[in-house]
Symmetry: C2
Amino acid sequence: MVRRAASDDEGRRPTTIRDVAAHAGVSVATVSRILSGSYPSAPATRGKVMRAVRELDYVANANARGLAGASSRSVAIIVNSVVSPHYAHVAQGVQTQAAIEGKLCIVGTTGGDPERELATVQLMRQEQAECVILVGNVVADEAYRERMGDYARALALAGSQLVLCGRPALGPDVPALVIEYDNTGGAYAITSHLLSAGHRRILFLGRRDGHTTPDSRIAGYRAALADHHVPHDPALEAEGTMERREGHRMVRERLDAGPPDFTAIFACNDLVAAGARQALREHGLSVPGDVSLVGFDDLPPAADIDLTTVHVPHEELGRTAVRLALDRERDRPGRPEHVLLGTHIIVRDSVRPLRGPALP
Amino acid sequence: MVRRAASDDEGRRPTTIRDVAAHAGVSVATVSRILSGSYPSAPATRGKVMRAVRELDYVANANARGLAGASSRSVAIIVNSVVSPHYAHVAQGVQTQAAIEGKLCIVGTTGGDPERELATVQLMRQEQAECVILVGNVVADEAYRERMGDYARALALAGSQLVLCGRPALGPDVPALVIEYDNTGGAYAITSHLLSAGHRRILFLGRRDGHTTPDSRIAGYRAALADHHVPHDPALEAEGTMERREGHRMVRERLDAGPPDFTAIFACNDLVAAGARQALREHGLSVPGDVSLVGFDDLPPAADIDLTTVHVPHEELGRTAVRLALDRERDRPGRPEHVLLGTHIIVRDSVRPLRGPALP
DNA sequence: ACCGGAAGTTAAAACGCTTACTATGATCCG
DNA sequence: CGGATCATAGTAAGCGTTTTAACTTCCGGT
C-alpha cells in the first residue's frame, strides 16, 4: 500500500491552479482573479471556478502567491518566551489583530539572548513578514542598538516595518514604530499609593541597571520618593531579574540577614511579587498584615494572591502594534510613530496603612 | 556606496541572488549551492560569495526558496489561546524543538471554535507547513471528526502531517500522529491520593460531557472511587468549563446552597482549583485546614497556591510532536504513530488527612 | 456600416530560487 | 600522449502564482 502510494508520487502531486483552470474550462488568469476576488467576472464563470475548487479541494500555495507579487500576508512577533504571561498576553493581542486583518502570525523566541534576537529578525526578513514586532525588555547596549538600527533600515527597505513593543526607541533616524506603555508613570503611581498609606521604607525588588524595563520602573519609584520628600536609601534597592524565584531569593537573603528594615515592598513585576510573598510567609510574615506588597503588570499571579498592582494593557499593546504597522498609508500625516499607552493601579488586598508615626 | 547600489536599479528593490552572483562574479547556481552548503566548492569561490552576501546584506527569499523545491521549513501550531498556560507551555515546547530543527513556527489561535480551527488548518495547508500540530481539548463531535479526518488526508497528500497533541485519535484510518498524556492515569492517581488520606466525599469540579479532556479526567476519578469501593455520587460532579472563574462559581453556588457535603475537591485543572480556593476562603474555609484541594496540570498557579496536583509534561508534549512529525523516514518501522506520555503527582500543601472514621 | 469602449477573458512575462543537466579544464592511467 | 575521471562552475528549466497588456465580443451612438 505504502509502496504504491509512493510510486504514484508523480501522479499525486498537490492540486495547482492549473488543474482548477482545466477542470473549469477557463484560463489560470481567470481562476486567480476570481479567487482573489478583486476583479469583475461573469457569475457563470465564477460558479464554474468555485465548483472546480471545491471538487478538487484546491488550496493556493502561499509561497507562490508571496513570490508572484501579493505580500506574504504574515506578521512576525519575537518574544523572549511564550510561557511568560507578559509576552503571552502581548502575543495574544498580536494574534487577535493579525487574524482580524487576515494575516497569519509567525512567532520566534529568543530566550532573552540579544544574539538570537538579531538572528531571528533576519529569519523573519527572509520570510517576507509584513512587519516584525519585537516585544519587551532588553539590554540597552550601544553596539546592539546600532545593529538593530541597521536591521530596521533593512526591513524598511524591503517594504517591511520594525515595531518595538514595550521598549524604548532606538534613535531618531531609525525607521521603527514604537508602542510603549507608561512604566515610569505606573511605578510612580503605585509608589505614591504606598507612601499615602504611610509607608516610608519601601523595598524595591528587581533593580537591574541597563535593562530598560526595570530601569524605567525604578525611575518612577525614585521620583515618587523624591516628590514626597522621603529620603532615598540605595540599600532598599535589591538587584535581581524579573523571575519568580528571584523575588523569593531577594527577600529570603534579606530576611536571613536580620529583621526587616522595610514596611512595604514594590516588586518590579507580579511574578517577583509572588516569589517575595512566598519568602515572607516562610519567615512567618504575612501580607498585608506585617508587610505591604505591590507588583506590576496585573497578570495571572496577581489575582490569585490578591495583589495590588499596576495594570498594563498588554493585549492592546499587541493589537496596536499590528494595526499601526499594517496601516500602509505611510505618508499619511496622522500616522503616529510613537505611541504611549497608559497604565493604572488595580487595588486588591495587599497593602495596609501603617499605623502611627512612621518616619524612620 | 549604498546610493550607488540603489540607483543601479530603478527602485529600492531588495537584493536578489542575482545581485550577489554579479557582485561575486559567479553564476546564481553557484551562489545558491554555496549558501545551501550542500555542494563542494572551491574555497576561493566560497570566500567571494560570502563577502558579496555580507556587503550587499543579502537574505534569501523564503517564498522563492519554498517554491523552488526545498521544503518551506516551518511547522504550524494551532491552539485555543496563547495566554492559557496549558497551551503556552506546549507551544513553548514546539518552539524549542522547531528552533533546534531549524524550522520556524507559525501559530494560529481558534478561541475554542471548531469552525475556526478547521479554517486555520486550511490556512496552514496553504502555507505549506511541514506539519500541523493541533493542541488540546475539543468536542468529540462526529461531523467534526470526519471533516478533520479529511484534512488529515489532504495534509498527508501534500507531504505534510497532522499531529494531534493532547487529544484522542480520530480513527484508525486517519493518517495523523497522536501525542497524548495520561489524563485518566493522573486523575486516578490523585484521586487515590485523596482517598488514602481518608477522604470519601470528593467534589469533582469541571465535568463537561463530550469534551475530551474533562471526560478522561473524570473517568480516572470514577475508576479510583470504584477501586476503593467508595460509592459514586453523581451529585458530587459539578459541571463547568476549565476556567478560573468557573471554579469559583461552582464552589460558590454549592456553598451558598448549604454547608459543604464534601471534605475534598478535585478540580479538573489548576486554574479551576485556584478559583475554587478563592471561593472557599470567601466562605471562611481554609485549604487544607477545612477542605483538601487538588488540581491537574502543574502550571504556574499551582506553585503559588501550594497546590498538590498532577504534573503534565507540557513542553515535552510539544517537543515530541515536532520531533516525531519531522522524522521523515515514514517507512521506518520504529516510528510510533501514537505516543502516551506519563503523568505523576506533585505533592505540595493542599491535602490534609481526614481524622477519625470517615465513612459517609 | 463604422467606431469607441465596456466587459470579460487570455497568453505570457515576471517573481527569486533550486537543481537536473552540461561544459570546462585539470589530473591521471595505461 | 590519448582518452577517462574528477572537481567545479554554468545553463536553463521549472516551481505555482499574480499581473500586464492584449485580445475578443458585444454594445450603443453616430
